[in-house]
């Protein structure tokens, strides 16, 4: 049977546009990160250059990774996945153009420029100034209009787990975003910090993670041509995650003045979260059995690695939320290592895997599997060095902070690690350049031809078995 015959129409232009925007903003964000890393080695390069100020560069680095790279990559994936999951096209191609334009030219670009010009708010994952927040909320409303109706138009009975994650992510982000971006501007000090903590975790837990997990649960069955190991476990984990993630926020402020009961609640939730992720990832890895640790399908290879990194970073999160560990490593580079393992590891590998998977199925897009294979190994090297280096740095800092050594001793001790981190931009940047090259060189439609000439395009049944039965 010709699998593409009954496939709903995917708007390939929007997959392509968001995919390209994702990688371009990714490269810019990595340059920001590299610059910030270099400025810790050679701070005086920012002399008399307020736009090069470390703080502003640091804000643009993380905002670029979240809003530029991950959001664009997720949107690209949604334009591919939502029609396949629902059997319906997205609401409107025209709306898609508006979303693309508004997101990149009314949020990401002006956000970056305003931060460099000195307009920002010092709130984590919320550094773009308030005026940008208005556009973020607007776009997320438009995105809900764009993607959500497709899920509901045929009734709700056939929702595959990825659909649940997508719906949950889009709805909860819309609710959580103002918590971290607007509430702390209105509620002062410790009370505002309680809300800020919610968003610090929700940005990762209620937006990035569900989108990434949606990609994992989508690409794994699509590429392996087998249903996932257990739909029941996937749904159980979904509900437990959406129960536990929002309760984690306060673990960023352990030993603070926020009531101890709230801190303990967040610590308990963080501990349970690790267990649930263990169950969830086990389900993914069982679904991957037989595919090998490094599958030939590059999209699947990124995705399967993402699943492993998801498990590691979540277990680490559970560990570092414990009071005895948190007391020592909080505020240190250990946490920066953790956040890179989450964003450069888990989330980026999922986003890249989803993007590659969707891109390969654009009939006219270029594709070069060998270069993408290089991208994979370079990024593996980059995240490994980054994580190990910063984790050790964090332990050294934590040790010195517990002692009576002068503060500057911890700065001096960290410098060699910061140097390694700065030099580590080479594999990371090369890896992302290779990701870009792998998607813009090679023959047009080469990726799709490769699939069709070997095992053939996957039937929808592998992605959304429930839908396939009723279709």
């Amino acid at each position: 049977m010709n699998a593409s015959a009954n496939r709903p129409r995917v708007d390939s232009r929007l997959v392509f546009a968001h995919g390209l925007a994702a990688i371009v903003t990714l490269l810019i964000s990595v340059v920001f990160g590299t610059l910030a890393a270099i400025e810790l080695i050679a701070p005086d390069i920012a002399s008399n250059a307020p736009a090069l100020n470390w703080g502003r560069i640091r804000y643009d680095h993380t905002q670029g990774i979240l809003f530029g790279w991950l959001v664009n990559a997720f949107f690209a994936f949604l334009y591919h996945a939502v029609p396949l999951l629902t059997g319906r096209p997205v609401t409107s191609a025209r709306l898609g153009e508006w979303i693309f334009g508004l997101w990149n030219f009314a949020v990401v670009l002006p956000g970056w420029v305003l931060v460099l010009a000195g307009f920002s708010q010092p709130l984590e994952w919320a550094e773009f100034p308030l005026v940008i927040d208005a556009f973020v909320v607007l776009v997320f409303i438009l995105v809900a209009i764009q993607f959500l109706p497709a899920f509901f138009s045929r009734g709700l009975e056939d929702l595959y787990v990825s659909s649940w994650y997508i719906i949950g992510s889009l709805v909860f982000t819309l609710l959580a975003y103002p918590m971290g971006n607007i509430v702390p501007e209105l509620v002062p000090g410790a009370r505002g910090a309680a809300f800020s903590g919610l968003w610090i975790h929700d940005a990762v837990g209620l937006f990035v993670t569900p989108m990434a997990v949606a990609i994992l649960y989508f690409v794994i069955p699509a590429a392996t041509r087998r249903p996932i190991y257990s739909h029941f476990v996937s749904m159980l984990a979904f509900w437990l995650l959406f129960f536990l993630y929002p309760l984690n926020g306060t673990h960023h402020y352990i030993f603070s003045v926020i009531p101890m009961d709230a801190q303990i609640g967040a610590i308990v939730a963080s501990t349970l979260l690790g267990l649930v992720v263990l169950v969830n990832v086990t389900n993914m890895l069982l679904s991957l059995r037989g595919a090998g640790w490094f599958p030939r399908d590059i999209g699947l290879r990124f995705v399967s690695t993402s699943a492993v990194l998801y498990l590691i970073v979540s277990i680490q999160g559970s560990v570092q939320a414990q009071m005895s560990v948190n007391q020592a490593v909080h505020f240190s580079d250990w946490v920066i290592g953790h956040s890179h393992l989450a964003m450069l590891g888990f989330a980026t590998f999922a986003a890249a895997g989803g993007l590659i998977h969707a891109w390969q199925r654009i009939p006219w897009a270029r594709y070069d599997a060998m270069i993408l294979g290089w991208a994979y190994w370079l990024l593996i090297a980059g995240i490994t060095v980054m994580f190990v280096d910063l984790t050790i740095a964090g332990l050294v800092e934590a040790h010195l902070w517990q002692s009576a050594a002068p503060w500057m001793d911890s700065v001096r001790a960290a410098k060699p690690f910061w140097l390694i981190r700065a030099v580590n931009f080479v594999p990371v940047l090369l890896g992302f350049v290779a990701l870009l090259c792998g998607l813009v060189v090679g023959p047009r439609g080469g990726g799709l031809k490769m699939i069709e000439s070997t095992i053939g395009l996957e039937p929808i049944a592998e992605i959304a078995p429930g839908f396939a039965e009723t279709a």
């Binding site: 701070p43 920012a46 002399s47 008399n48 250059a49 307020p50 100020n53 470390w54 703080g55 502003r56 000195g118 708010q121 010092p122 984590e124 709700l156 009975e157 709805v171 909860f172 609710l175 959580a176 509430v183 702390p184 002062p188 000090g189 410790a190 009370r191 505002g192 309680a194 800020s196 919610l198 509900w239 959406f242 129960f243 309760l247 926020g249 960023h252 402020y253 352990i254 030993f255 603070s256 003045v257 926020i258 009531p259 101890m260 709230a262 609640g265 967040a266 007391q327 505020f331 920066i336 902070w401 517990q402 009576a404 050594a405 002068p406 503060w407 500057m408 700065v411 001096r412 910061w418």
Partner: protein, 397 residues
């Protein structure tokens, strides 16, 4: 069946929204109510809000990522309290829109930074942190200045004005405020201990105090260690050979002391290193162990070139009694009747001695940035010389 599924999904969806609402209530709203109650029970009567200038400084602080390296939150754990002072109380952050707690410390916590350092120190340090602390990785904020650390733009003044507010309300609350907060605090004994019992001055804060016991210096074993420490921590202001001409000295008033022109008793050096010199940019170095302070003191003493002793005259004693004893004390111990009013202590001539030339200059021209006035209009050259000789004779090594 289909209807049943649809209804169960609907119920699940509502449940999901319930999860989110629960998280907001449990981790946002409820702690907020508890904190509000706590704040009302513990805050001092009239906490001082930020002035317009301080608010502008706070904006600059936020827009340039300062809170991403400097936390403003002393946690309720021993290592935080030992290093940075009493744990942060809920009411201390009531003027923070938004909060600046931070989640990373590359530089030290700044919750108690106000009133710790001189304005000059902040300007010189902001202009280029490495002029003061050679190994610092803090970004230069020279773009807040007109080319020199002593020419701050209004933005730099606002920023330093803001830094001066950090911890201000806690300090203004004083002993009564602390007692009130302690009584109202709905917290465990451990928390009370960490929030109220830690000494206001702690081993690592560089908060100078005008007087106080200082440890006895020991005889240092390793002269090279002293040289290394001096080069690392002192030379930036006092210069590589102690001549007071380091890079960091440029914007500081009073200027860093020319150590080569002065000799000191060990106790005087110990006090300056341990307590800092109040009213000047000299910080306290209580975070260094006594062995290291002793090694540095040894290096400082080594800068001095001994001069031939000259007998002081009766004439010098008269000049001193008439013109100098008001501040420097009859015995020259710096405890004259007028000395108590000054922000910078009058020199105690028994514990330190300048070279003849340095003393001559000081009497003739005064010392900029200190209460020491120029005397060339009131005293003749002969009288100035006699006074300079006389005070040198007071030294008791």
């Amino acid at each position: 069946m289909r209807h049943f599924l649809r209804m169960s999904y609907l119920a699940a969806g509502i449940g999901g929204l319930g999860f989110f609402a629960m998280s907001v209530l449990l981790l946002g709203v409820w702690p907020g109510i508890a904190l509000e109650r706590q704040i009302r029970a513990t805050e001092p009567d009239h906490p001082m809000p930020l002035t317009a200038s301080e608010k502008r400084g706070r904006e600059i602080y936020g827009h340039n990522g300062c809170p991403y390296c400097h936390t403003q939150q002393i946690r309720y754990i021993e290592s935080d309290v030992r290093r940075f002072g009493r744990a942060t109380l809920a009411w201390e952050t009531i003027f923070d829109y938004p909060h600046l707690w931070g989640t990373r410390r590359i530089g030290p916590d700044l919750s108690r930074e106000g009133a710790v350092r001189s304005e000059d120190w902040h300007f010189a340090h902001l202009f280029n942190p490495r002029h003061i602390t050679p190994d610092s990785v803090m970004p230069p904020f020279d773009w807040l200045f007109d080319g020199a650390p002593d020419r701050p733009k209004p933005e730099a003044r606002d920023l330093v004005a803001y830094l001066e507010t950090l911890g201000r309300n806690r300090e203004l609350a004083g002993a009564n405020g602390e007692a009130h907060s302690r009584a109202g605090c709905d917290c465990s004994d451990d928390e009370k201990h960490l929030a109220f019992d830690a000494p206001l001055l702690n081993a690592s804060a560089s908060m100078p105090r005008s007087a106080g016991a200082a440890p006895k210096l020991v005889s240092p074993a390793d002269r090279n260690r002293g040289l290394r420490l001096y080069a690392r921590d002192c030379a930036n202001c006092h210069g590589p050979r102690g001549e007071g001409n380091g890079k960091g000295a440029a914007g500081l008033v009073p200027r860093p002391t020319n150590l080569a022109e002065h000799e000191y008793t060990p106790d005087r050096l110990s006090s300056a290193l341990w307590n800092g010199v109040a009213g000047t940019s000299m910080p306290a170095w209580r975070d260094l162990p006594v062995e290291d302070l002793s090694a540095i003191a040894e290096v400082v003493r080594g800068f001095h070139n001994p001069q031939a002793e000259q007998a002081s005259s009766e004439f010098g004693a008269e000049i001193f009694a008439d013109h100098c004893a008001q501040c420097h004390g009859e015995s020259g111990d710096g405890n004259g009747p007028a000395a108590g009013r000054f922000p910078i202590a009058s020199t105690d001539f028994r514990s330190q001695r300048g070279s003849y030339e340095a003393d001559l200059r000081a009497v003739r021209d005064g010392i900029e940035g200190t209460p020491m006035a120029p005397w060339r209009a009131q005293l003749s050259e002969e009288e100035i010389a006699a006074a300079a000789h006389y005070v040198r004779g007071l030294f008791r090594p």
